[in-house]
């Protein structure tokens, strides 16, 4: 189930709705705070920048993203990874930090990190190191987290993503953000505050799950760009299968480093907006914080370097009480784990046990098609619009659905896309269903489109058949057309008779038409179409009516 980032998706999903997105956005404080859900600072090209000062300030956004690795077991122990299980049921002695236990690295987690690194155009370090990061918290029983601080598994990557823009016509603006590094690290347990009894309940099921921490350079300028980048990353991770990317289950967690400055000047003091665990609020949280900082700077104040949390109820970021003032994690090399060595087919030792060797080039060869390539293929193969390709790829299974309809019908892909995005996806969204739950199979839709294509039903009748198919009675489009008599009326005499009766019963309208008001003809057409249940050929009806009213 694709967790949708509203900022981006709302644009994509709503194919017909025109939006305005500014490429490099200047955010006026008056503008951002009044936006409704899903709206963002980038929108409204003519953002009413009132104060000259604010015009100069631009936002700078960097992200740190924690992606839970999709694996059966944890990073360093053989206990199961599963969401919402009874508390502490997925905990090994190592996860509980019992003395005498040692970490044993999960091969799958390393492969996932390498694959993700490759998909994000990173350099994979053939030697990487593990470190301990110390802090004291009850959900981290060892008192340290094993991470990769000195030498992470992947560095220097790049994520390309598209921001949908709407000027005079729809198009997609290419953006890219540098990936500083990807490091393997352990997740912590979960704390449940029991305010009533003034205590904390600790569940270690999450403790020790493998995370990929992706550090993105501050190459983004507003919430919408950040949301688009995260959405693209989410799609890539899901395509790779290295992370399920479900934000509501905490599989993808975003921290944003936000600052404002005037272009050309050094970056401003940044704040960190922590734990944005909801796709819906990502853009909003960042834009609120940008706007807040701009207001501070404009009023002559200084931004304080602090950690802030986004409160989705009020739509504001609020300072978090720092755990212990200035943090000093006392990083040190993890003594229990030798360096992680990776190879390629050329450098792999001849006599090595294959279960102990990870080959980078082999993983490269196994990379599946990435979302961006899928989109390009869809545009090229089927001649659909780029923004439609975004919508298709954004929805789980919708690409496959579209392609199988196209393969089964004689209708052109450009006609199919309208039905898939407007009618099918519209209905699915309205009812909060996934593509897989669609009551209309690709074959059924293909049949319907064939009837339309062959001229056996009219377009309005096709919509009626679609509604019938949606009820899922198991009848095919063909059967519905027959049983409800929705086929195009072939009987010329019958259509003529209906036209005549409409004209007879609307003498006033006929007079108006004869008086020169041609628009009234449409009203009569509507009457005829209604009487024929949309089955009459509109061109024929118009010609007949024109003849009879002239």
């Amino acid at each position: 189930m694709a967790a949708s980032l509203v900022g981006v998706l709302a644009v994509v999903r709503n194919v017909s709705v025109k939006r305005t997105v500014r490429s490099k956005c200047l955010i006026s404080s008056s503008h951002v705070c009044t936006r409704r859900l899903g709206a963002s600072a980038c929108r409204n090209a003519k953002a009413q920048v009132k104060r000259s000062l604010s015009q100069e300030l631009v936002g700078v956004v960097g992200l740190e993203i924690h992606a839970q690795i999709h694996a059966s077991t944890k990073l360093f122990s053989g206990s199961q990874v599963r969401f919402s299980s009874p508390p502490n049921s997925l905990v090994s002695f190592f996860d509980a930090s019992l003395p005498g236990t040692l970490p044993v690295l999960n091969r799958r987690c390393v492969e996932a990190a390498v694959m993700t690194g490759l998909a994000l155009n990173c350099t994979i370090n053939k030697k990487s190191l593990f470190d301990r990061k110390h802090y004291f918290y009850a959900d981290l029983p060892a008192g340290y987290q094993i991470t990769q601080q000195r030498l992470p598994v992947a560095v220097d990557g790049r994520l390309s993503y598209g921001v949908l823009v709407d000027g005079s016509q729809n198009h997609v603006l290419e953006r890219s953000v540098r990936i500083k590094q990807i490091q393997l690290e352990q997740d912590s347990g979960k704390s449940l505050r029991d305010g009533h009894r003034s205590q904390t309940l600790i569940d270690l099921n999450r403790a020790g799950i493998g995370l990929m921490e992706l550090v993105m350079e501050p190459d983004m300028c507003c919430g919408e760009e950040a949301a688009a980048a995260v959405r693209e990353l989410q799609l890539i991770l899901q395509a790779l299968g290295t992370c399920q990317g479900n934000m509501s289950e905490g599989q993808l967690r975003v921290d944003a480093n936000v600052s404002v400055h005037r272009p050309g000047e050094p970056l401003g003091v940044r704040t960190e907006v922590k734990n944005i665990n909801s796709a819906r609020f990502l853009a909003r949280a960042i834009d609120y914080e940008l706007q807040r900082q701009m207001a501070v700077v404009e009023s002559g104040g200084t931004v304080v370097n602090e950690t802030r949390a986004f409160d989705f109820k009020s739509g504001q970021t609020i300072p978090m009480r720092d755990k212990e003032g200035l943090q000093d994690y006392r990083f040190m090399p993890e003594p229990n784990l030798p360096p992680l060595l990776l190879y390629d087919q050329q450098t792999a030792p001849m006599d090595a046990d294959p279960t102990q060797v990870i080959l980078i080039d082999q993983i490269q060869e196994q990379l599946p098609e990435l979302p961006r390539v899928t989109r390009e293929r869809l545009v090229k193969t089927y001649g659909i619009l780029p923004e439609h390709s975004f919508t298709l790829v954004n929805e789980d299974d919708l690409v496959d659905y579209f392609v199988s309809v196209v393969q089964r019908t004689k209708a052109e892909p450009r006609k199919v896309i309208g039905w898939v995005l407007k009618d099918l996806l519209g209905q699915l969204k309205q009812r909060c269903l996934s593509t897989a739950q669609s009551p209309i199979s690709p074959l059924a839709l293909a049949e319907l489109l064939d009837l339309l294509e062959a001229g056996r039903i009219s377009s309005p009748a096709a919509k009626l058949v679609f509604q019938e198919l949606w009820k899922g009675t198991g009848r095919s489009a063909e059967q519905i057309v027959e049983q409800q008599d929705l086929g195009v009326m072939r009987d010329h005499g019958e259509i003529e008779r209906i036209c005549q009766s409409v004209i007879d019963s609307h003498p006033e309208e006929v007079r108006a038409i004869r008086g020169g008001n041609r628009n009234v003809l449409n009203k009569l057409m509507g009457r005829v179409m209604k009487q024929t249940k949309g089955r009459a050929d509109p061109l024929l009806v118009r010609t007949l009516l024109e003849e009879k009213t002239s």
Partner: protein, 194 residues
Amino acid sequence: MYCTLGRITSSLQCVALYLRPVRHRCGVYVGPHVVENRGGQNITRHRKKHTSSLSQSQTPHHHNPKVPQTPTWECVREDQLPLPTKVPPDLVDKLERLALLDFRNQDGVDCLEKAIRFADQLHVVNTDGVEPMASVLEDRTLYLRDDRIEEGDCAEQLLGLARNTLEGYYVAPPGNIPLPERDEREVLLKYSEM
């Protein structure tokens, strides 16, 4: 009495032979199975060196000439060492916060200063051109485990070890208990013969 680094290193090497993760599984120590044949053998050049030293140590009667049979040390003269480090109250403060330790008394600070003095001997050793070593295991192959569920489901056993539990959860204090405020600490320090 101080022993020189050379000695420290050789005894560390000796210890290292026993520190190796013997059975590649977390949890309890299982027993002295030989790792070498489980895979990744001779992945690095150093590997062979270790294999040979391992075989030496496995026969207890065969003496490794690098390991002295009796404790031995050489004194390092005070004038070879840098000036002794004094630990100011501010630093004690910081260390206490970072380590969640309570040692704000004269004994505690003395002990810390002695430990630093002991480590000062490392300055005598010439390390020019020597790459720092993070761990004695760093030329070992990192064992990779299959992604198979083999552990967990022992909540009862684990929670049995905890002082306080509730409905399957560990119970912890509401948050980290903050250390006393600075001025409060000054007073405490003053009365602890510092």
